[in-house]
């Protein structure tokens, strides 16, 4: 490997496709393993792949805020949790055949995933609009702290809401349904998550390459430039923040389906940190970085966690290594520095 040779001339060189190859390989492995595991009847591994995929979606969401918009949100667990609770609450009312609310118009629960996903994303969008509208008036470490504070508020709100389990959380007794396919089947559910991951990455890539993406990217690189070019940074960043939250919210909805459970831990600040770890470990701003980050995280947790509960020590070391020696994360180590045109 000669990645050090590429360092001095990073930008205009058409050193295409190394990253594309890595992306393809990672996605191929992520798809192949559960197919194989399912064929030998090991649903445990299929679910593990689903978990990686769902975490990756959450990471893709946060990566859009951090990598594209430069908004280091330490409160994305709020959106992950709102997505999860949307699923849990919808399923709860559907199961109990009660109404979510009766006034001013009746809203019942539902067990249809498609509806739940849309509602989850809309709710996350609204929450992000409110949180972003306030948080984006600050910068740097204050932004990190204020997003954390908002997520903690929602966390404590969930804990103190007994209707939906409070501290104990809420079980989803039957996995919600999709038209045509049987989402209860582990492999089918994995494939659904995988398709949604691909969609999230595709949307993220399209948006990054659009005029909006150019403006958002400039907000990260140099906000003064953006304003001087006649584009107000605030609405651009707020829109980026909302989109980011919606993607992470979708991941939360899937996470609740996978576990058949939602609890306040989905909203805790540890979760925000984990999602950030996916992004940093994989490589900030790299489209497929969160997939690598989430995979490493889950594999470390599962396999190292099997023989020592101190697996996070290793995670910490890995993170330290990445931050100190490979600013582009694992993706940067394998595929070289990010390219711009």
């Amino acid at each position: 490997m000669q990645q050090t040779d590429t360092a001095p001339k990073p930008v205009t060189m058409p050193k295409l496709n190394r990253e594309a190859m890595v992306n393809f390989t990672v996605m191929a492995i992520l798809l192949a393993l559960p197919l194989w595991a399912s064929s030998i009847g090991e649903d445990y591994y299929v679910n593990l792949a689903s978990l990686i995929t769902i975490f990756a979606i959450a990471g893709v969401g946060l990566n859009f805020a951090i990598g594209q918009g430069g908004m280091v949100s330490f409160g994305h667990a709020a959106f992950f949790g709102i997505g999860g609770y949307t699923t849990g609450i919808a399923a709860f009312h559907s199961f109990e055949e009660t109404l979510f609310m009766a006034m001013p118009f009746a809203v019942s629960g539902t067990n249809q995933m498609l509806i739940i996903w849309i509602v989850a994303m809309v709710l996350c969008g609204i929450a992000a609009l409110a949180i972003g509208a306030i948080s984006l008036r600050t910068e740097g470490v204050y932004f990190i702290m204020i997003t954390l504070a908002f997520a903690q508020m929602i966390y404590y709100f969930a804990i103190s809401w007994p209707t939906y389990g409070g501290e104990d959380g809420l079980s989803i007794y039957l996995r919600n349904e999709l038209p045509v396919v049987d989402a209860e089947n582990a492999l089918t559910f994995f494939l659904i998550c995988f398709i949604l991951l691909l969609s999230a990455i595709f949307v993220s890539a399209r948006l990054s390459g659009s005029r909006f993406g150019a403006a958002l990217g400039t907000a990260r690189m140099n906000e003064t430039r953006l304003a001087t070019s006649g584009i107000d940074p605030f609405p651009i960043k707020l829109t980026g923040f909302v989109i980011s939250a919606m993607i992470t919210g979708l991941a939360g909805a899937l996470f609740a389906e996978l576990n058949g459970f939602v609890g306040p831990s989905m909203l805790s600040w540890h979760r925000s940190g984990e999602i950030m770890v996916f992004v940093i470990l994989g490589g900030v701003g790299r489209l497929y970085g969160p997939v690598i980050g989430a995979a490493l995280f889950v594999l470390l947790e599962t396999y190292i966690g099997e023989w020592t509960q101190h697996w996070q020590l290793l995670l910490g070391l890995a993170l330290l290594g990445v931050v100190l020696f490979a600013r582009g994360g694992v993706m940067g180590m394998i595929a070289g520095r990010a390219r711009h045109d």
């Binding site: 930008v11 399209r206 403006a215 140099n222 003064t224 430039r225």
Partner: protein
Amino acid sequence: MTKPVLEVKGLHKSFGALQATKNVSLDLKPNEIHALIGPNGAGKSTLIGQIAGWITPDSGSVYLDGEEVTNETVASRSRKGLGRSFQISSLAMEVSARRNVMLSVQASEGSSFRFWKQTKSDQDLRETAGNWLKKVGLGGREDIAVSELSHGERRQVEVACALALKPKALLLDEPMAGLGPTGSIQLTEFLEEIRLEIPILLIEHDMDAVFRLADRITVLVGGAAILSGSVEAIRASALVREAYLGEEA
């Protein structure tokens, strides 16, 4: 009398006990280069900040093409026709010169809330940006990352970004700083050309350039505009010599 393109009326700004801007009024007429000079600490930066919109004045107003913009944001003033370059270039360093100008072009065309079409394959956008870069003399350097360009080239990119917004007035903050002798001569020639289309408010330390280019000069000392007049008047003024040019003049 020709109507001023840019007009500043009675600006005041204090930071605590420090009066950084004291009742400053000045204007910029079509086709002229109006230079703003003053020793370090005279309040030039604060004044520019108020004109461009980074700093809100305590009182007074700023007009652009007859319209009051005192309460407008930086971005809004840019869209309404105030182009500017910075003392230290302020560009997106990681991306190409073309990318930087493309952003101004897209702003001048209206909305940045277009989410699907890829700018990479938007030939109109790319070419328009390329043409602005050619105009400032950066033909052939369009696709090089700004971080790889020289100081002078970066300033040219900034000017291209400003021109792409089709400004009514240009605010150039020490454009000669960091340029070699050839660079300054080239830029001087370029500014002579530009002024025919767009008047320039020039903040500059290089006195040769100022005396060569400017039609009018305003001298800022201690936050106040102590004198404003033609190049000859300023050269001749004892007040300016004392306050600014020093005893050797």
